[in-house]
């Protein structure tokens, strides 16, 4: 849906940023600050830490805009940077790992579950019925796009556990759909 609005598309902006164009950077910031800040705020309860992570993210975008190769959506690319910057900051501060998510009753679906849940009615429900432990793993790997190792760090569990929980979650979802 890139370029649906007026003005240059996000990938055009990134190309300009790679050439040190501050105006393009400001425009990209205006477009992406809001959702990134909101979504990261769901991952960390400390607003100051979230702001630092957002700042780091846009610094990284400024430096690494050239490494965006129009592979996939700009939003997903920005998120990939943002979530890792937040993890870095949380690690530095020794913020207790992701407890927030494991214990909370929110989050998680599978890939494009918005649409699937409309058609298959129950996927959304199945996800909501997953235990918090399984959901946290699905959340970290599928929704947040972290690697098994990063997810393990974030959740404070061994990599092996991430893999087995992911397997169990998949199994439960498959059963709920058949």
């Amino acid at each position: 849906m890139d370029g649906a609005g007026e003005g240059p598309s996000d990938s055009d902006l990134l190309m300009a940023i790679a050439d040190d164009d501050r105006t393009a950077f400001d425009l990209l910031y205006a477009r992406h600050f809001g959702w990134l800040h909101l979504r990261l705020s769901r991952r960390c309860a400390d607003p100051a830490l979230v702001e630092e992570a957002v700042q780091d993210t846009f610094m990284t975008i400024w430096k690494k805009a050239g490494s965006y190769r129009a592979q996939g959506d700009v939003g997903a690319w920005v998120w990939g940077i943002g979530i890792r910057q937040l993890l870095n900051r949380m690690r530095q501060r020794k913020t207790p790992a992701w407890h927030l998510l494991v214990h909370s009753e929110r989050l998680v679906s599978a890939e494009d579950s918005v649409l699937l849940s409309v058609e298959h009615g129950d996927l959304g429900g199945a996800i909501d019925r997953l235990s918090p432990e399984l959901r946290a793993v699905v959340q970290a790997t599928v929704i947040d796009g972290l690697t098994t190792r990063e997810a393990a760090q974030v959740l404070g569990i061994p990599s092996g556990t991430v893999k087995t929980r992911m397997m169990r979650a998949r199994q439960q979802l498959r059963e709920a759909l058949t």
Binding site: R22, R31, G34, W35, Q55, A76, S113, V114, G124
Partner: protein, 278 residues
């Protein structure tokens, strides 16, 4: 597939009121849908947006750290200190290199040349290198970054010390490395204590007068002393000749060591003077 997040859903997302699958659906959709991102941007926390923007602008307007500076940061130096040392080195590396190169020629001359003269030239010249470093450490006339330094929040004394260390720290090991090639044994290192003593003394004098003047005055005294002593020195052996200059006597060495210690104490006591020197 023209599903979009509506206001009610966003409200519920923000207040954590959606079921987990709904929370995730909103996130996945907003991340990749331009028009929904626009909708979220319209509701974002303006104060946070402005704070982060300001911090970003500051970071982008700060010149990027050079290689030396990044190395110093890695070693554990603070941001401001690393910038000062890095800038000092990048401004001064050319003359440091030039001084050391000249000394290298003196060493070459000393290894092939007549007895004592080359060695004496090396030992007398070596302490002047750190002295030049002190002379250019701080002050309105010699320092291209002086205007910036006065605007900095760091104390003047700290800047002077950092600069001096930035210059002497690479110069002294380099000169010491040259000394190894001199066929004079431990005597080849007789310049070290006078060098430290003179550098510290010029810093101490710098609390009374301009640093360049202090350094120039001490250099002149040093050269005069060396000239007078060596003129009368016996030319029988290289070692005897060089030791003709009192500074290279064991007693002279001790004197310069104490001069250095006393001077550093004075600098510490009178460090406020570097502020007034602005």
């Amino acid at each position: 597939m023209t599903w979009h997040v509506d206001t009610t859903q966003l409200d519920r997302y923000e207040s954590d009121a959606l079921p987990p699958s709904g929370m995730a659906s909103v996130e996945m959709h907003v991340t990749s849908c331009e028009s929904c991102r626009g909708q979220v941007a319209g509701r974002a926390d303006d104060a946070a947006r402005a704070r982060v923007k300001q911090a970003l602008d500051e970071r982008l307007d700060t010149p990027p750290a050079g290689r030396t500076e990044r190395l110093l940061r890695l070693v554990g130096l603070g941001e401001a200190d690393a910038r000062i040392v890095g800038a000092t080195l990048s401004l001064n590396w050319s003359w440091i290199a030039a001084c050391i190169l000249s000394l290298a020629f003196v060493v070459l001359a000393a290894t092939v040349g007549s007895r004592g003269a080359g060695l004496a030239a090396f030992l007398v010249a070596a302490p002047l290198v750190p002295l030049v470093g002190v002379a250019v450490a701080y002050g309105p006339r010699v320092d291209p970054t002086f205007e910036i330094a006065t605007a900095a929040t760091l104390p003047g004394a700290r800047i002077v010390m950092l600069r001096t260390i930035a210059v002497t720290a690479p110069a002294i090991p380099a000169i010491a490395a040259l000394s190894v090639f001199l066929p004079a044994g431990p005597l080849a290192f007789a310049w070290l204590l006078p060098a430290l003593g003179l550098a510290a003394a010029s810093l101490a004098l710098g609390t009374l007068m301009d640093l360049p003047k202090a350094a120039a005055g001490l250099s002149t005294l040093w050269l005069l002393g060396a000239g007078m002593d060596l003129a009368d020195a016996p030319r029988t052996s290289a070692e005897g000749f060089v030791r003709g200059f009192a500074a290279f006597h064991p007693s002279g060495q001790l004197l310069f060591a104490s001069l250095g210690a006393v001077s550093l104490l004075l600098v510490a006591l009178r460090r406020a003077e570097f502020e007034i020197a602005r």
